[in-house]
Subunit: 349 residues, 2 copies
């Protein structure tokens, strides 16, 4: 495979989306990489992680990283194989995660900006982008470090069938909490209770969330792992117990809207009930990845922790895939397949 | 003084206030205590603490204690002298604080519900209701325990010339923070900067708070000690740094209003800037009073920590005094003088 001679493909931001992402908001362009810079590696991307937060980066709004500028490459985490190295740290054939790469076939990155991935026996490689990657770390950091989940807590997880939510809920279960998930649709709710061990699931498309919370959380809620925001968050907020924790992992209901995101209706409850509302972003918890994986990996390998990777093949389908995410039609961690996983022959090549 | 034979006086809630407290919302009634119950003490109240939170108790709204019912005594903390005891723990002549007593001249309370007060040499007795009492504990718990103030922080305190705010700001200063206070009026602002050592003060009556914050906090805000809520809080919120802490001690701007209290305009900043917003109530921190006083008392005795007690004499003036509090016309900790402090002759009597 001579990547220098065949053109590479990359999605770039063509214009800022107004509301839901439209096909015209992104453009697939060809590019040809120049010579590799010193201390850099060239990575053939195999998988691209799609995450709700990427919609934030497309808007010129308050956010935790600089927004992507129009004309710039779409930003995303990729898993790939090193095909050329100008660093002692990595060799061709090494599998790596490139944290803030592009939606692209070939990435040049400083060697120190990528991290080596080792296959976990019996676990597909895609797990390194989901349960054993940043998705798992996000769930663990939010539930354990920020939320400080403890045995006996009543925990509510919104977007509970999503990549992060489904893992977060299972982590809470394994820490001895009672866990109620909120998800869209009967099939997702059944998955939560029948396969993942959630104590209850609320189908927000077909139930009044407030009434269902009253039924499933008769003693109130101690910990909210919030992925959604808006009216669903407010229904949870109103039922928080004294000293409850609201962990803001995501507010997906606001990502497609311009303008500020509404908070709970009655802010004074934070005072009256002595709540702690805390936002977090996974990039601040990367130094705890080892600790998180030490807890998650054995559960994954033993089958006690379940997850789904939803791989959409073809970089050209990335925009369609992103639309799945915002309509809730994905099943588990959404990943775009860019190129084949290396075969045994390619290792070290 | 034969308290059994002269009638006692007590304020009770006559109707729920609509907005600001009106004279007709409270009624001063006479009562005659019956025989003292076993394990109880009878306390002649000397001072009554007036606090913004009492306005919350008058409303039938979400709150941290049961609201005062119409026809019930107004609730408040008093400092008094034991005049009769049916408990081994306390003797007549002992000075005590009765945590949830009434706005009344004579209080019967379980001996275990009151706590002994010892005079601090060189410090007026009223300090036991302010800087060396729950006011000081509130400021300390919020700034140190909840806010985790640290050297180098930029701290903003709203209602900074108030009883709690003025102490909270000085505690932050002594922990090495830069402190900006927000208060109403030039005289209060001068007091903060010239006498209490605040680095800057913003007069919200005569300045645009947002512009003034930009000027005084060019590197953003790390810790907000919030006493006010509403637009002032929002101006601070918009300038919070990543990983900032918003400690909700009070939301006085909402206490006179019916209906929910608005939060910050853009709730999603809590996520984007990884803020921690946490409410607290002093009653949850009583077990740390000793630790707080060990820090505050030496500062008070050495004159390094300043405070004002604003004593309004006469239980009959309690409602007028409460109105001072909500119009910001009090100067420091508002206390109603109910009866004289005991003389040396009365000690042990």
């Amino acid at each position: 495979m001579n990547l220098h001679e065949s053109p590479c493909l990359r999605w770039q931001l063509a214009r800022r989306p107004a509301g839901a992402i439209d096909a015209g908001d992104l453009a697939l362009i060809e590019y040809r990489p120049g010579p590799l810079a010193p201390d850099h590696v060239r990575v053939r991307n195999i998988y691209l992680s799609l995450d709700p937060t990427q919609r934030i980066w497309m808007s010129d709004r308050e956010q935790y990283l600089p927004p992507i500028e129009v004309g710039q490459a779409m930003r995303g985490t990729t898993l790939g194989v090193v095909v050329e190295s100008r660093s002692d740290r990595l060799q061709p054939g090494d599998l790596v995660i490139a944290g803030l790469a592009g939606w692209e076939t070939l990435t040049d990155a400083p060697a120190k900006a990528v991290s080596r991935v080792r296959r976990t026996p019996g676990v597909p490689l895609t797990a390194s982008m989901s349960v054993l990657g940043n998705t798992g770390l996000t769930a663990w950091a939010g539930m354990v470090r920020v939320g400080q989940v403890k045995s006996g807590d009543t925990v509510v997880v919104s977007a509970a069938a999503g990549a992060v939510g489904s893992i977060a809920g299972q982590i809470a279960k394994r820490h001895g909490a009672r866990v109620v998930g909120i998800a869209g649709g009967e099939a997702k709710c059944r998955w939560l209770t029948e396969e993942l061990g959630f104590d209850a699931a609320i189908d927000y498309r077909n139930e009044d969330v407030g009434q269902a919370l009253d039924r499933h959380c008769p003693d109130g809620i101690d910990l909210d792992f919030e992925n959604v925001g808006g009216a669903i968050m407010n229904a949870v907020f109103e039922r928080m117990n004294n000293f409850g924790r609201m962990v803001l992992c995501g507010l997906i209901s606001s990502y497609e809207k311009d303008g500020p995101a509404a908070g709970p209706t009655d802010f004074s409850r934070i005072l009256m009930r002595r709540l702690r509302v805390e936002g977090f972003i996974v990039i601040d918890h990367l130094s705890h990845a080892k600790e998180a994986m030490a807890e998650l990996a054995p559960w994954v390998q033993s089958g006690q922790l379940r997850w789904k990777d939803h791989v959409v093949p073809g970089l050209e389908n990335a925009v369609d895939a992103m639309q799945l995410l915002f309509s809730g039609r994905n099943e588990g961690k959404l990943i775009v397949g860019i190129s084949p996983e290396p075969t045994a022959d390619e290792a070290g090549a």
